[in-house]
């Protein structure tokens, strides 16, 4: 057996084209020709794309149809009940009037139920129209007060700002701003603590109970806690307290995934890499920044990705309670409002929340992919 292997090696290896330069070539030609961004853009396969888009289109249509039929059914039930109630309480004439009223599409007597896809579409259009109106009002206002504001600025006074109702798009922007602020906060808290606890087993044990206890705490409780503190700490009426409260609560709620993942990533660096650091006699700083942190980057970013989605999910609940202007309070206000298109607007907000959450996740995947050395581990 041994002799056989020797015979195999005996053949002239060098002339057979395993020279190192040739080994490199195939990889080099691929990445040299393409621009740097090419690896981030998925290659488009026409047939697959068509198939995929047809399937998704079909599923969307089925979804809309089911929604439409379901909404119609609920509408029927609600309308019948309404008429029945009038019939019982006010008699036949009133009931007949009610039927006429409902079928005429009169706003005041519409049954309150799940809106149909068409109604939601109209509500979305109205929201956009509303936004255009409000922005033109704002521009007008700005023009009006431009001269006064310049004066006030010269005198050292704060400028007069528009205090009217925010439009739907303004509220989306506020929400995104809040979630980004909360995300940054959680990043700045969770990553350093995660690294420190990952490096030191005693600290990890010391922090562990805290993490385990606070991780499952509901966003509402965090909000109240933050409210108690912020209320006392910040006395300046000029500051936007509701924004501060909501972004801090979002940050505190969402940071746990990053904290735990960073800690695990740092504490489970491969033994080989640690040995390299030891053999090269890297000092502590270099060991942490050149070996430990880079090797835990994939896990840290997995944590950050979870943090973003948790932050976005929690934000809506927190805004709802903190009265911070945003999508959450929009939903709550519409629910309290009870206008005939309120339900449709809530559904519009739902879709907007979903789409933005999805986009945030995609952005995180992109960032994760571009900073991570370990491409295979990203789903």
């Amino acid at each position: 057996m041994k002799d056989n292997s020797m015979v195999a090696i005996k053949q002239p290896i060098h002339k057979n084209g395993t020279s190192p330069k040739k080994e490199v070539k195939p990889a080099a030609t691929v990445s040299d020709k393409d621009p740097w961004w090419k690896s981030y853009v998925p290659r488009i396969d026409g047939k697959l794309l068509l198939k995929k888009s047809l399937v998704s289109l079909a599923s969307i249509l089925v979804f809309l149809l089911a929604w439409h039929l379901g909404a119609a059914k609920l509408y029927d039930i609600e309308a019948t009940e309404k008429v029945q109630k009038v019939l019982n309480e006010q008699g036949e004439v009133a009931a007949r009037e009610m039927i006429d009223c409902i079928s005429s599409g009169e706003v005041s007597c519409q049954p309150n139920t799940l809106p149909s896809p068409y109604q939601v579409f109209i509500a979305a259009e109205n929201l956009l129209k509303d936004h255009r109106e409000i922005s033109s009002k704002k521009a007008e206002f700005r023009q009006k007060v431009a001269a006064t504001n310049a004066d006030r600025k010269a005198q050292g006074l704060s400028p007069i700002t528009y205090t009217g109702r925010p439009s739907f798009l303004d509220q989306i922007l506020t929400s995104i701003k809040t979630v980004l602020a909360g995300f940054l906060l959680s990043m700045f808290i969770a990553i350093p603590i995660g690294i420190i606890t990952g490096l030191n087993q005693n600290l990890r044990m010391a922090f562990n109970w805290l993490i385990q206890i606070f991780k499952p705490v509901s966003p509402v409780v965090w909000l109240l806690l933050v409210f108690m503190i912020v209320k006392t700490v910040i006395r300046d009426p000029e500051m936007d307290k509701s924004f501060i409260i909501s972004f801090i609560s979002v940050g505190l709620c969402a940071m746990w995934a990053t904290l735990v993942n960073t800690s695990v990533g740092v504490s489970s660096v491969q033994k080989d890499y640690i040995n390299v650091a030891k053999v090269l006699q890297l000092n502590v700083g270099k060991k942490i920044f050149k070996v430990i942190i880079p090797s835990s980057i994939p896990l840290i970013f997995t944590g950050l990705r979870i943090t973003v989605s948790v932050a976005w999910m929690v934000l809506i609940a927190i805004e709802l309670l903190a009265q911070s202007p945003g999508l959450g309070s929009f939903v709550w206000e519409e629910f309290q409002n009870g206008a005939n298109d309120s339900n449709a607007k809530i559904i519009v907000a739902m879709f907007v929340i979903g789409v933005i959450g999805f986009l945030l996740d995609r952005i995180m995947v992109f960032v994760q992919h571009s900073v991570s050395f370990d491409k295979a581990r990203i789903a």
């Binding site: 090696i9 005996k10 080994e23 990889a27 080989d272 030891k278 006699q281 880079p294 980057i297 050395f373």
Partner: protein, 290 residues
């Protein structure tokens, strides 16, 4: 007689404690002479990696001492370069950066250009210049191991430790790299210690071969001097009488060891006395009832 660069004196090493304790190395005595190429061959799991980790300073002996130039080894040092079994390249760094990590650490006082030249020189030495800016994931196994070789050599170590450096490679790449490492070694004549499980590799590369008797309680066997002139040509070595002789000696020594350890481990099991049941020889009560 040349100087002795590193020395094991009555070294014992084990892992765990109490009932879980396994003694890996027992009473290891070994001298490595300056400028020589020493190979230690042994079965997998015989404690070869433990032996080399004692020299790198990643492990400390339980008993006895490991000396480098007369002083006990306290921890890792730049004068002892290591090529690990599994390359141990940092996957987020390019070939250049991986080598630079070592060079920056060993020569902090050099100017940037000097270090850059030094790094490029060693990458060129292992024929990887075209892959200078590639990451380990984009390289083949053989290329990765060559980066590890470049990294270890760029530190200009007085003693080069190789822990089964070619173990994970296919036979062809292996032969190729053996020749390359030998070429580099003979160019700067450093002391080298090769740990391997391949006797042919040991004979091809080393001046001396010492078998490690299988662990637990591994000890070193007798040394075999390989008196074959350098440079050795792998293709002609097979017919060399000295090569054949040493190879047979080492092989038969290792084979005997393997048989001996198998004999030691073999246990006799008492089997229950079973009687076969032939079809039709046994009747069942329920069948009778039917």
């Amino acid at each position: 007689m040349t100087n002795i660069i590193a020395e094991f004196k009555g070294v014992h090493k084990g892992y765990g404690s109490g009932a879980n304790r396994t003694e890996v190395l027992q009473d290891i005595n070994l001298s490595i002479r300056e400028g020589e190429f020493l190979a230690i061959v042994g079965f997998t799991g015989s404690g070869k990696t433990t032996l080399i980790n004692l020299l790198t300073g990643l492990l400390q002996p339980d008993e006895g001492e490991v000396l480098f130039k007369g002083a006990p080894i306290k921890g890792p040092g730049h004068e002892r370069g290591v090529i690990f079994q599994n390359y141990s390249l940092l996957p987020w760094l390019t070939v250049y950066q991986n080598v630079a990590l070592a060079v920056d650490e060993v020569y902090p006082n050099w100017s940037k250009e000097e270090r850059d030249q030094h790094i490029r020189k060693f990458v060129e030495m292992v024929n990887l210049s075209p892959a200078l800016n590639k990451r380990p994931a984009e390289l083949s196994g053989g290329m990765r191991q060559r980066v590890a070789v470049a990294r270890a050599l760029s530190m200009d170590p007085e003693l080069l430790l190789m822990d089964e450096p070619l173990g994970a490679l296919d036979a062809l790449t292996r032969g190729n790299l053996q020749t390359e490492i030998l070429k580099i070694w003979s160019a700067n004549q450093r002391t080298a210690l090769l740990i391997t499980n391949d006797v042919d590799e040991g004979i091809l590369m080393a001046d001396r071969i010492i078998p490690l008797r299988p662990g637990p309680n591994a000890t070193l066997g007798p040394e075999f001097i390989i008196d074959v002139e350098r440079p050795r040509d792998k293709t002609q070595l097979n017919d060399h009488p000295e090569f054949k002789k040493v190879r047979n000696e080492v092989m038969s020594y290792l084979m005997d060891l393997g048989d001996a350890s198998k004999l030691q481990q073999s246990k006799t099991y008492e089997l229950p006395d079973l009687q076969p049941i032939m079809p039709g020889t046994r009747s069942f009560p329920f069948m009778k009832a039917g």
